[in-house]
């Protein structure tokens, strides 16, 4: 094998690609579509940055200015007084302009915030969860620690049927435990270090945001959805959207298991920083019951996660 001619291998690959392009129109079109997609994305991003190649705007403005700030006007007493006066007037004029600009910017920002709020309400009403891979709440609180062995085994025992989706998957302990029970499972995690740790243990942990992943899944795809980990740090709007989406993505006899710590048990700093993020197990039960699940609380022998919510579908999935 050490005699393998790699140049020949490269040539074979290139020839194979050319042959497939000639035989398979779909592949050729796919390449064109990909190229077009990138061209559009790159143009929209980079055009935001485009400036004149001849210099930055300040340099251009300086060269076009009617007054040369560096004119040598001497330092005689009379001139000094005029210079002082010009400086003072310039200062007050610049301040006046700045105030005007600030007022304008403030009004504009208020207006934009109003628009954002209205759009948010519209999106919420339509069940749209946004497409950001970094959800609100990310970075405000630390990512919750990996689940204890007690939580892992309890949750794995509650996984009904497969396939099972674990959001967020962390380093994959829950996915692994469910897999050991013969149920197909994968997790989604947004922290690359945890994804790396999971992959090192050969666990199917995928990279990405929990909400976009759920939105992108097929309706009725999962037998069990486990909500845990980073779900503790999501705001109410996202959590309500998550319940709606999870409901859609579950099979008719599917089950949702929620393993989260009660926000009321947070230390003071976390409680203040994370105000409005996460829900207690009791509220999760309420939300799931509202969504048509038969939900109950099970005590769990863990210092952080003291109760686990198990919700079994009893009614057909509701539309968001």
């Amino acid at each position: 094998m050490s005699e393998l001619d790699l140049e020949k291998v490269s040539a074979e690959i290139e020839a194979d690609a050319e042959k497939r392009r000639g035989q398979d129109r779909e592949i050729a079109r796919l390449e064109q579509d990909i190229e077009q997609a990138w061209a559009e994305i790159a143009e929209s991003e980079s055009s935001l940055l485009a400036i004149d190649e001849d210099g930055d705007p300040l340099e251009q403005a300086a060269s076009l200015a009617a007054i040369d700030p560096h004119v040598p006007i001497g330092s005689r007493r009379g001139l000094r007084s005029i210079k002082w006066l010009i400086r003072k007037l310039s200062y007050w004029y610049a301040r006046f302009l700045t105030d005007q600009f600030n007022v304008f910017a403030g009004a504009l920002i208020r207006h934009l915030r109003n628009v954002e709020t209205r759009l948010g309400r519209l999106e919420g009403a339509a069940g749209y969860l946004g497409d950001s891979t970094v959800p609100a709440g990310f970075g405000v609180l630390d990512n919750p620690p990996e689940p204890s062995a007690g939580v892992v085994s309890h949750v794995a025992g509650l996984a009904g049927s497969g396939p099972c989706l674990v959001l967020s998957g962390g380093e994959g302990a829950i996915v692994e435990a469910i897999g050991e029970r013969g149920i197909s499972a994968h997790g989604v995690e947004q922290d690359p270090d945890r994804v790396l740790a999971g992959l090192r243990r050969r666990i199917d942990i995928r990279s990405g945001g929990v909400l976009p992943h759920l939105v992108g899944a097929e309706d009725g795809e999962f037998g069990t959805i486990v909500l845990t980990g980073f779900v503790e740090n999501l705001p109410l709007r996202d959590l309500i959207g998550m319940v709606n989406q999870a409901s859609l993505k579950l099979k008719r006899t599917g089950r949702i298991v929620v393993a989260v710590a009660d926000p009321a048990s947070r230390a003071r700093v976390d409680a203040e920083l994370g105000s409005g993020l996460g829900l207690s197990p009791v509220t999760w039960r309420h939300l799931l019951q509202q969504a048509g699940f038969d939900a109950s609380l099970e005590p769990c022998s863990d210092s952080r996660i003291t109760e686990i919510v198990v919700a079994q579908r009893t009614a057909p999935p509701s539309q968001p």
């Binding site: 690609a17 796919l30 190229e35 992943h213």
Partner: protein, 353 residues
């Protein structure tokens, strides 16, 4: 009293390849008994041993300038007309950054202009690769030596011939290591990965490295989302040395679609860790990989995807690439490259005034 050797560099920064390279040259020369001093544009070391370029007199026996971007340090050399040893790491063409990061584009343009002026002051050129050396010769520098960048090669991979890496789930993990930047063309890699996903739906792509500029990263994420592969693309960001080693060990193939590489440190690191390499033939890539990886001349998505698929599907090919890579990476072991650097500098630093 001036030291024998001044080492000029725009800035010393932790985790920066050129900074580490400069420190290793300093260490080498001091071990050989020469007095050295690092001259920087902006001082950053708390011990204050580095000299600010404003105070630099240019009277050391040898001044070695690290050049890869426009800098004030290079401007001082030009203004003082000081003869230097030009350690050239190549300068990325400004066209790659013009649309994304105009400030950086200006800086690299300035670097190119300075390179032309420095050519007249260069006593000897030291280039990381033959590709870089040729650029110096084209500028009229006759005395050019190739000596690779100095760095301590991290390796924890299996020895040649032992074990196979396809052990996560058999899906195939494609790795890229390096800055996420327009000249590195990670968008081409994502495009190839989207096609690869048709052959191997469970495969994943891991991009390790800091984004520069951030807008490029946002675009890459949008692109991955638009192609429907976002859940299988890991943007790992800047990682620790330990995690980097783990990614090398965990992955199944390193892919490089970069259009401008003056050398290609990650290619060598991958080879040293027994990771097969599939790379686009641009700049110094083929020279660095030599016959230890698959180098292709066409990086359209299908071609690149088929190359990756071939490596992921053919255990014998992977085994061969692994063995060759580990062997080939020995060329860049610090003991070898230090010796090359010493040979490049010896006659200059040993000559008495």
């Amino acid at each position: 009293m001036s030291p024998t050797v001044d080492l000029l560099i725009p800035q010393m920064a932790t985790g920066d390849a050129t900074s580490n390279h400069t420190r290793l040259i300093q260490q080498l020369l001091e071990e050989k008994g020469f007095e050295t001093r690092v001259v920087v544009e902006r001082r950053s070391r708390s011990d204050g041993s580095d000299l600010s370029v404003e105070k630099w007199k240019g009277d050391a026996r040898v001044s070695i300038l690290q050049h890869s971007i426009g800098s004030e340090v290079a401007q001082f050399v030009i203004r003082k007309k000081t003869p230097v040893v030009l350690n050239y790491h190549n300068i990325t063409p400004a066209s790659y950054f013009q649309a994304w990061q105009p400030e950086l584009a200006k800086s690299v343009k300035r670097g190119r202009q300075q390179l032309g002026q420095l050519a007249r002051l260069t006593r000897r050129g030291i280039a990381d690769s033959e590709f870089n050396a040729q650029e110096l010769r084209d500028l009229g520098i006759d005395d050019v030596v190739v000596a690779p960048v100095l760095w301590k090669l991290g390796s924890g991979g299996p020895p040649a011939g032992q074990g196979d890496r396809m052990d996560i789930d058999g899906a195939g993990t494609v790795l890229f290591v390096g800055r996420l930047a327009p000249n590195k063309c990670q968008h081409d890699l994502i495009a190839a990965f989207a096609v690869l996903s048709r052959f191997r739906p469970q495969s994943r792509l891991v991009l390790v490295g800091q984004a520069s500029p951030p807008q490029y990263l946002y675009s890459l994420k949008s692109f991955a989302r638009q192609l429907g592969v976002h859940s299988r693309v890991v943007f790992a960001g800047k990682v620790s040395d330990k995690n980097l080693l783990q990614w090398y060990q965990l992955s199944d193939v390193l892919a490089c679609t970069s259009e401008h590489e003056g050398f290609g440190v990650p290619l060598v690191e991958a080879m040293a860790n027994g990771l097969p390499v599939v790379a686009y033939d641009a700049a110094a890539v083929a020279e660095t990989v030599q016959d230890a990886g698959i180098v292709i001349r066409d990086k359209r998505p299908l071609t690149m995807a088929l190359a990756l698929h071939r490596v992921l599907s053919d255990p014998q090919l992977r085994q061969s690439l692994r063995g060759r890579g580990i062997e080939s990476a020995q060329r860049f072991d610090i003991s070898v490259t230090r010796e090359q650097m010493w040979i490049a500098l010896k006659d200059l630093v040993e000559v008495e005034d």
